[in-house]
C-alpha cells in the first residue's frame, strides 16, 4: 500500500472500510502488506510526536505496549498453568480415593501433616481413604482390590467422557495437541476461533480431565496452545497488535516460548523451542521479549507453588554423580533406540490418524475416546508403574537411589557392613534384590504397553500432548539399561572396560542418568528437536555436567531418525491435514523454472485480469462471481498486458458493496477506475468508482526464466502469498503458494491434491 503523499485526491472512501485489509478464514496473510502497514503507522506516530506532549506520550506508550503485553501474557499463562497443575494432581488422585479433612487435597497434601506415614509406606495415612475403604471398610484382600479397580475404571471413563463431550459441544478446535496448527498459524495462515476465548476455556478444563483420566498423554503441547490463546486474547487490548496480523504473530511466537517455559520450568529452553520448532519469522526483538515473558511466567508459576516445594516441574533432578567416558557407548545405544522409536511411532501414528480420517473409525469420536480410556484403565491398573501418572513415573525413574529411598526400584540388597557406606547417603553399587527384580519386569511390561497405547492415543478428540509419554518410554528404556550396566559392573568389575574407574565400593553407574538420557533421546527422535531439547533437559537437571551425554544421545537419535524420514511428528501432522505450510528447513532441489509452475498452464483458460480503467462495475462483479481466485492482477489494457498492480477479491467485493450502498449514483454501468486521474467522460455518464486505495501498487514479480529454487526462496523469506510472472515486461501468469506446495508434492511423488487450503 502506498504511503500518504502530498497529492491526495479528495476521495469519499478515504478512511479504510471495516473489512478491507482483513483476511478470510483459512487463508494466508500477506506479510509484506502487514509489515509495511506497521511501518507506516510507526512513522506516523513518530512524526506526530514532535508536535505536542500528548502525542509524545502516545508514542512512548506505543513503544512500551509491547513489553506490557508480554508481562500480561506471562502472568496469565503462569497463573493458568499453576491452576492446571493443581487441578490435574487432585483429579488424578481422585481416581484412587478421597481426603477426609478436605476433599480438595490430593493424596500427598492430605498426608502432609500426618505423623502416621512410615519409612516403608510413605503415602499411608488415616486421613486418605481409598474407595475400597470407604465403600467396604477394608483395604486388604481381593474384594477391596476389585472395588478399587472398578472405581478406577469408572473415574477414568467419567473424566474422558466429560472431556470429549465438552470439546464437542463448545470448542471442537480444542482437541489434539495444537502445535501443528500453531506452526501453521505462525507461518501466516488464519484459522478463526482457534485461539479464541472459548477454545481457551475448554482447552484448560478438558486438558485437566484428559490428563487425569489415565490416558497416555501429556500436557505440554496443549499448554503451548493455552499460552497462545492467552496472548491472542490479550492482543485485543492493544490496537497495535489487534489490527496487524504480522505483529500479532510476533506475540504468538513469544507465547509459544511461555507455554514450554511453564510446562518444564525451562525459560531458555522455551525460547529456543519457539525459535526452532514453532516460529516462522523470529526477529531478534522477539527473542528478548520472549525471554522476558517466559521468565515472568516461570516466576508466577513459582509463586503459586503447585508442588509445595518451590519447584517448577515434578521431575527436577538433584543428583550430581559423575559419569565416565566409556558410558558414552550405552548412551549412543539409547540414542539409536530413541531414533528408531521416533520413526516407528511417527509412521504408526500417522497411519492410525489417516485411518481415523478416512474410514468409519472417525464417525464415532466419543465412543473411540471411551474405548481407549477403558482399555488404558483396564491394562494400566494392575501394573503400579502404569497406574501412576506419566510425570510421577518419570520422576521416579530419574531418581538416584540412596539410603533414604524405600521404593521398589531401589530394592537393592543391603550391604553387609551398613556403617561403612559412601559419603553422606550416596551408595556404592549394590547387587539387585527381590524388589528390584520385580520392578524390572514390571517396567519392561510398562514399556511395551506405553509404546503401543500412545500410538492410538495421540490425535484423539481430547487435548493430548506427547512430550510426557515419549519421555516416559525413553526413561523406562534408559533405566533398564542403566540397571543392567550397574549389575554388569558389580558382578564383573575386573573386566577391561570397568577396570580403573569402577572398583568395588565406588558409585560408578547412575541408572537415573541413563533414564534421563533415554528420555531425551526418545523425545528427540519423535519431535526432532535438537538444541531446545538439550537446553530443556539441562535446565531440568540444574547443571552442565550432563550436557555431553545428552548431546551425544540427541544427535545420534536425530541422525538415525533422519535416515528414515526427515519429518518430525508435527510436520507429519501438518502434511496429513494438508495445511499450506512451506517448510523452512526443506531444500528445493529440482531444476524447474517459474514458467513450469505458474498458472495458467497450456490449455487452461486465460489469466483473469482487470483493466485499470476499462471495466464497469457489472463486468467486475461478473468476473469475480464466475471465478474463485482470491486476487486479480490489474493491467493497463487487455492488449498490452502491462502490469499495474494487484487487488484482492475480498477488498474488491467489500468496496463495491459499500459503494453501491453508500455512494449515490454508482450503478452497474459505472466505470471502475484504478488510476489516479480519471479518464474523460460525458457529463451524463454515471460517476466513477475509484478503487485505487485498495490496489497494491508493488506486487512481486519474477520473470518466466527464474529458477524455481530462487522463487521458493523468495516465497519463504518474504512470506509471499502469490507472485506474478512476467515475460519481456508483459504479464504472463501467476504463482501462488498453493501451486508451489502442489509442485513440491508432485516432485516428492505425493498426491498433489492433498494440499487442501489456499
Amino acid at each position: 500500500m502506498n504511503g500518504s503523499g502530498p497529492t491526495k485526491l479528495v476521495d469519499p472512501l478515504e478512511d479504510p472500510l471495516p473489512g478491507v485489509g482483513t483476511y478470510e478464514d483459512f487463508n494466508t496473510i500477506d506479510w509484506v502488506r502487514e509489515k509495511s502497514k506497521d511501518r507506516d503507522r510507526h512513522r506516523e506516530i513518530t512524526n506526530k510526536s514532535r508536535q505536542s506532549t500528548v502525542a509524545l506520550l502516545h508514542s512512548v506508550s506505543d513503544a512500551f505496549s509491547g513489553w506490557l503485553l508480554m508481562l500480561l501474557v506471562g502472568l496469565m499463562a503462569g497463573a493458568l498453568a499453576g491452576g492446571i497443575d493443581i487441578a490435574a494432581h487432585w483429579l488424578t488422585d481422585l481416581k484412587g480415593g478421597v481426603c477426609l479433612i478436605g476433599f480438595w487435597f490430593n493424596h500427598e497434601h492430605c498426608c502432609w501433616t500426618s505423623n502416621e506415614t512410615t519409612f516403608q509406606e510413605r503415602d499411608r495415612c488415616p486421613q486418605w481413604q481409598s474407595w475400597a475403604e470407604l465403600i467396604t471398610g477394608t483395604s486388604e484382600g481381593a474384594f477391596a482390590y476389585i472395588v478399587n479397580y472398578l472405581m478406577y475404571i469408572f473415574w477414568a471413563l467419567l473424566f474422558s467422557f466429560l472431556a470429549v463431550i465438552l470439546v464437542r459441544a463448545f470448542a471442537p478446535y480444542a482437541c489434539g495437541s495444537g502445535i501443528p496448527e500453531i506452526k501453521t498459524i505462525l507461518s501466516g495462515f488464519i484459522i478463526r476461533g482457534y485461539l479464541g476465548k472459548w477454545t481457551l476455556i475448554i482447552k484448560t478444563i478438558t486438558l485437566v480431565l484428559a490428563v487425569s483420566s489415565g490416558l497416555s498423554l501429556g500436557k505440554e503441547g496443549p499448554l503451548v496452545h493455552v499460552a497462545c490463546c492467552c496472548a491472542n486474547i490479550l492482543c485485543h487490548l492493544f490496537t497495535k497488535y489487534r489490527k496487524n496480523e504480522a505483529k500479532r504473530r510476533e506475540v504468538l511466537s513469544a507465547a509459544a516460548a511461555v507455554g514450554v517455559s511453564v510446562a518444564f520450568g525451562a525459560p531458555i529452553g522455551g525460547v529456543l523451542f519457539s525459535l526452532e520448532e514453532v516460529s516462522y519469522y523470529f526477529p531478534l526483538k522477539t527473542l528478548w521479549r520472549s525471554f522476558f515473558a517466559a521468565l515472568v511466567a516461570a516466576f508466577t508459576l513459582r509463586s503459586i507453588n503447585p508442588f509445595g516445594n518451590s519447584r517448577l516441574v515434578l521431575f527436577y533432578v538433584e543428583f550430581h554423580a559423575p559419569w565416565h567416558l566409556i558410558e558414552l557407548a550405552p548412551f549412543i545405544l539409547l540414542g539409536i533406540f530413541g531414533g528408531l522409536w521416533g520413526v516407528l511411532f511417527i509412521k504408526a501414528n500417522i497411519a492410525w490418524c489417516r485411518r481415523r480420517k478416512s474410514t468409519r473409525l472417525g464417525h464415532y469420536p466419543i465412543i473411540e475416546v471411551l474405548v481407549v480410556a477403558a482399555l488404558t484403565a483396564l491394562l494400566a491398573y494392575p501394573n503400579s508403574y502404569t497406574r501412576m501418572s506419566g510425570a510421577e513415573l518419570i520422576s521416579e525413574l530419574f531418581n538416584d537411589c540412596s539410603l533414604l529411598d524405600s521404593s521398589q526400584l531401589c530394592g537393592y540388597k543391603q550391604p553387609a557392613n551398613v556403617s561403612e557406606t559412601g559419603v553422606g547417603n550416596s551408595l556404592a553399587d549394590r547387587p539387585a534384590g527381590e524388589g528390584l527384580y520385580t520392578a524390572l519386569w514390571q517396567l519392561a511390561l510398562a514399556l511395551i504397553f506405553k509404546m503401543l497405547i500412545t500410538v492410538i492415543t495421540f490425535g484423539m478428540k481430547v487435548p493430548s500432548g506427547l512430550f510426557i509419554p515419549s519421555m516416559a518410554v525413553g526413561a523406562i528404556a534408559g533405566r533398564l539399561l542403566g540397571v543392567g550396566m550397574e549389575q554388569l559392573a558389580y558382578y564383573n568389575h575386573d573386566w577391561l572396560i570397568f577396570r580403573g574407574w569402577c572398583s568395588p565400593g565406588a558409585d560408578c553407574i547412575t541408572p537415573g542418568l541413563y533414564a534421563m538420557v533415554g528420555a531425551a533421546a526418545c523425545l528427540g527422535g519423535v519431535t526432532r528437536m535438537t538444541v531446545s531439547l538439550v537446553v530443556i533437559m539441562f535446565e531440568l537437571t540444574g547443571g552442565l555436567e550432563y550436557i555431553v551425554p545428552l548431546m551425544a544421545a540427541t544427535m545420534t537419535s536425530k541422525w538415525v531418525a533422519d535416515a528414515f524420514g526427515r519429518e518430525g511428528i508435527y510436520e507429519a501432522h501438518i502434511r496429513l491435514n494438508g495445511y499450506p505450510f512451506l517448510e523452512a528447513k526443506e531444500e528445493f532441489e529440482h531444476s524447474s523454472l517459474a514458467v513450469d509452475v505458474m498458472r495458467p498452464r497450456r490449455g487452461d483458460p486465460a489469466l483473469a485480469v482487470l483493466t485499470q480503467d476499462g471495466m464497469t462495475v457489472e463486468e467486475v462483479e461478473n468476473l469475480v462471481e464466475n471465478t474463485h481466485y482470491s486476487g486479480f492482477p490489474v493491467v493497463v489494457s487487455q492488449e498490452s498486458q502491462r502490469l499495474v498492480g494487484f487487488v484482492l477479491r475480498r477488498d474488491l467485493l467489500i468496496s463495491i458493496d459499500n459503494a453501491r450502498k453508500r455512494q449515490d449514483g454508482i450503478v452497474g454501468a459505472s466505470l471502475v477506475v484504478f488510476t489516479e486521474h480519471t479518464p474523460l467522460q460525458p457529463p451524463e455518464a454515471p460517476p466513477f468508482l475509484r478503487l485505487r486505495s485498495i490496489l497494491d501498487l508493488s506486487p512481486f514479480t519474477v520473470t518466466d526464466h527464474t529458477p524455481m529454487d530462487i522463487t521458493v526462496d523468495i516465497f519463504r523469506k518474504l512470506g509471499l502469498r502469490q507472485c506474478l510472472v512476467t515475460h519481456n515486461g508483459r504479464l504472463l501468469g501467476i504463482i501462488t503458494k498453493k501451486d508451489i506446495l502442489k509442485h513440491m508434492a508432485q516432485i516428492a511423488n505425493r498426491d498433489p491434491d492433498s494440499i487442501l487450503f489456499n
Binding site: G19, E24, A79, I86, W90, F119, A171, P172, H236, D657
Partner: protein
C-alpha cells in the same frame, strides 16, 4: 466487541487477587520440616514431621523421641536429611473449587443448550421461525466469504436481540467448527 477487553481485564484482576490473597495468608499448618532418617543399626527407618520454622529445621529439633542414645545421636543425625517445605492450602482450595464450579457451569450450559432450549423454543413457536432461518445459513460451505462480513453487520434495535444475535452467531461458528473437525476431518485430523 467491547466485552472482550472487559472480560480479559476482569479475569486478570481476579487472578491477581487470588495470587495476592494466597501470598498474604499463611496458615501455621502450611509449613513443615520433614526429616527422613534411614535405617541405622537396629533402628528402623523413620520419617519425622513438625511445623517449625526454617531456623529450627534440623535433626535435633525435629526428631523426637530420639531413638538412639547420647553418643550415637550425632552419627544418626548425620544420615538424616531434613527439608523445609511450604505450601498454600488456601490456593489449592480456591483453585479446586473454582475449577469444579466452572466445570459444573459448563455442563449445565451444555445440558441447557442441547435439551432445554429446543423445548422452550417449541413453546414460543412464532419467535423460533426467525431463528430457524438463520440456522440454515450455517449449513452451507463453512469457508466464509466476503458477503457474510457485511450481511452480519446490520445492527439490531434492542439489547436482548443483540445478545440473542451474538449467541446465534457463536452457535453457528461452533457448528461450522464441529463440521470441519468431527465430520469432514478437514482440520485437526
Amino acid at each position: 466487541m467491547k466485552m472482550k477487553p472487559l472480560f480479559s481485564v476482569g479475569g486478570l484482576c481476579f487472578l491477581c487477587f487470588v495470587l495476592l490473597s494466597q501470598v498474604s495468608a499463611k496458615n501455621s499448618e502450611d509449613i513443615r520440616c520433614k526429616c527422613i532418617c534411614p535405617p541405622y543399626r537396629d533402628v528402623e527407618g523413620q520419617i519425622y514431621k513438625q511445623n517449625v520454622s526454617l531456623k529450627d529445621c534440623n535433626c535435633l529439633h525435629v526428631v523426637e523421641p530420639m531413638p538412639v542414645d547420647g553418643k550415637d545421636v550425632e552419627a544418626y543425625c548425620l544420615r538424616c536429611e531434613c527439608k523445609y517445605e511450604e505450601r498454600s492450602s488456601g490456593t489449592i482450595k480456591v483453585t479446586i473449587i473454582m475449577y469444579l464450579s466452572i466445570l459444573g457451569l459448563l455442563l449445565l450450559y451444555m445440558v441447557y443448550l442441547t435439551l432445554l432450549e429446543p423445548m422452550l423454543k417449541r413453546r414460543l413457536f412464532g419467535h423460533s421461525q426467525l431463528i430457524q432461518s438463520e440456522d440454515d445459513v450455517g449449513d452451507q460451505q463453512p469457508f466464509a466469504n466476503a458477503h457474510n462480513v457485511l450481511s452480519r453487520s446490520h445492527s439490531r434495535p434492542n439489547m436482548l436481540n443483540k445478545v440473542e444475535h451474538a449467541q446465534q452467531r457463536w452457535r453457528r461458528q461452533v457448528q461450522e467448527q464441529r463440521k470441519s473437525v468431527f465430520d469432514r476431518h478437514v482440520v485437526l485430523s
